[in-house]
Assembly symmetry: C2
């Protein structure tokens, strides 16, 4: 699968180790990160590729987390999972090493965030099970390709994220409230954004809400829980998409002795092209 998805000749950038200009092939992007030459947000790397969030949980909690993802497919669409002891993930790239190929790893210990590391090879326990979760990265790529102007891009930041009062479907020890990302659009663009995103179930699909923020428990849009706010202009409608950020609070609340999760925006660059976020 990886070989088919890789465009011909895209690997030429792997010849150069220089971090600038940004690598265009996913292999080059992962290598740069693996070698410790890049530790920032992955948004600008390898345009057109699906980027995945990571949650790695101990085997004893993994079955429940798999069910949690399946029961909340808009927030946590499962692109791939590994079995305990597997750090490779060939479905997302032949060379992928889950413990090293993300720019940063948030370390969860005894139900709290213990810190962040740039490389998790020394922390990766034999019983860790990796879940690779689709993100809004492919959504923004699809919107841009369709010519839709994205407010957060013109404002040079990621979409503002909010914790709603909408409960997720629980599975075993995992539960929590849904996080959403907000993108404002004019009515005609909102219709197109809904149409387009509906075709990408592996990138959160259609919005979970549009319009009145209070309907999902949000007081105001000017104070997101994460990332800077996006201006909503007169006549525009705020659209809310489920966010893979929903994973971290659920991992924390589950009281796991240990887990790893990707920090927001610091994702695995995969060999899957955006088109594949339409589903398999």
């Amino acid at each position: 699968m990886a070989a088919e998805d890789k465009a011909d000749g895209r690997d030429e950038e792997t010849q150069t180790a220089a971090p600038s200009p940004a690598p265009r092939s996913p292999t080059a992007a992962r290598r740069l990160i693996r070698e410790g030459l890049f530790d920032g947000p992955t948004g600008a790397l390898a345009p057109g590729q699906v980027q995945a969030a990571l949650a790695a949980v101990p085997a004893e909690a993994a079955l429940a987390f798999a069910a949690f993802c399946l029961r909340n497919p808009k927030a946590l669409p499962l692109l791939a999972m590994t079995l305990p002891g597997e750090r490779r993930c060939p479905a997302l790239g032949a060379d992928v090493d889950l413990a090293r190929d993300l720019p940063a790893y948030r370390v969860i210990e005894d139900g709290g965030v213990a810190g962040e590391v740039a490389d998790a090879a020394d922390l990766w326990r034999d019983d860790l099970t990796g879940f690779l979760i689709g993100t809004g990265h492919a959504l923004d790529a699809a919107f841009a390709e369709a010519g839709l102007a994205l407010r957060h891009r013109s404002e040079s930041h990621p979409p503002p994220l909010f914790e709603t009062n909408v409960p997720m479907e629980a599975a075993g020890r995992f539960s929590g409230r849904l996080w959403v990302g907000m993108r404002p659009f004019s009515p005609s663009d909102a219709v197109r954004a809904i149409e387009i995103s509906g075709r990408y179930p592996m990138a959160h699909g259609a919005p979970v809400h549009m319009g009145e923020p209070s309907a999902i428990g949000l007081d105001r849009l000017t104070t997101p829980d994460l990332n800077p706010p996006s201006r909503v202009a007169g006549g525009e409608t705020p659209l809310f998409w489920a966010s893979s950020r929903s994973a971290e609070p659920a991992l924390l609340a589950a009281g796991l002795d240990f887990a790893l999760v990707s920090p927001p925006g610091k994702l695995l660059v995969t060999d899957l092209q955006t088109e594949r976020a339409r589903g398999f």
Copy 2:
């Protein structure tokens, strides 16, 4: 979710226990089966509803089976999964009891088929984990709705199934060869069938092959491995869709001490409407 998906007033059939005419609501269909009044193939029950195959495996093998499904999404699209001890599956119907709501259960013991039972309540172990897998039932519904003539329907049997020589992606102890269902179409109808099925990833999506059967290891189309053959008329092309029948051989080869699997065509009638097989 179940409540939203249920069309208004469809439950009126639940007032009658008579097996004839065939119940139109999924609740009525499940009740009939649960009460032992129906044990045949579910194809004609509750038109327009997604029907799911069941695989129930012990918890110790469940994580690997979840990964096996995710790695082979065309054959084994996961509609839902339960955790050990859960027989209910509210995502597919508020009243669903996985141990009683299928017309039959094939019992796997020590790597072989030990027999079939009409009710698995006495066999359902506390460590059993249920996987509900999308089937071609929704595909046929979508084809019929689009006005495509289905050969196997005019021949009054399910689609012929074949074991190919195509290896599935392994996960832990699970591996095996892909099974496919064949439907012949004229070239123009074949194009439409590919277009339409591609929109239903939870019902096997687009075909895995079209044309020359030998390319996927099939000698002839006149001797399917399961179900009667379908005639391929002059000028028609055989199209091959991945089949949820791929699960059973993989369960057998895994050498499990115990598992349950739905016999072909004897499926769980769910509250999901066909439209939902497009993905979530």
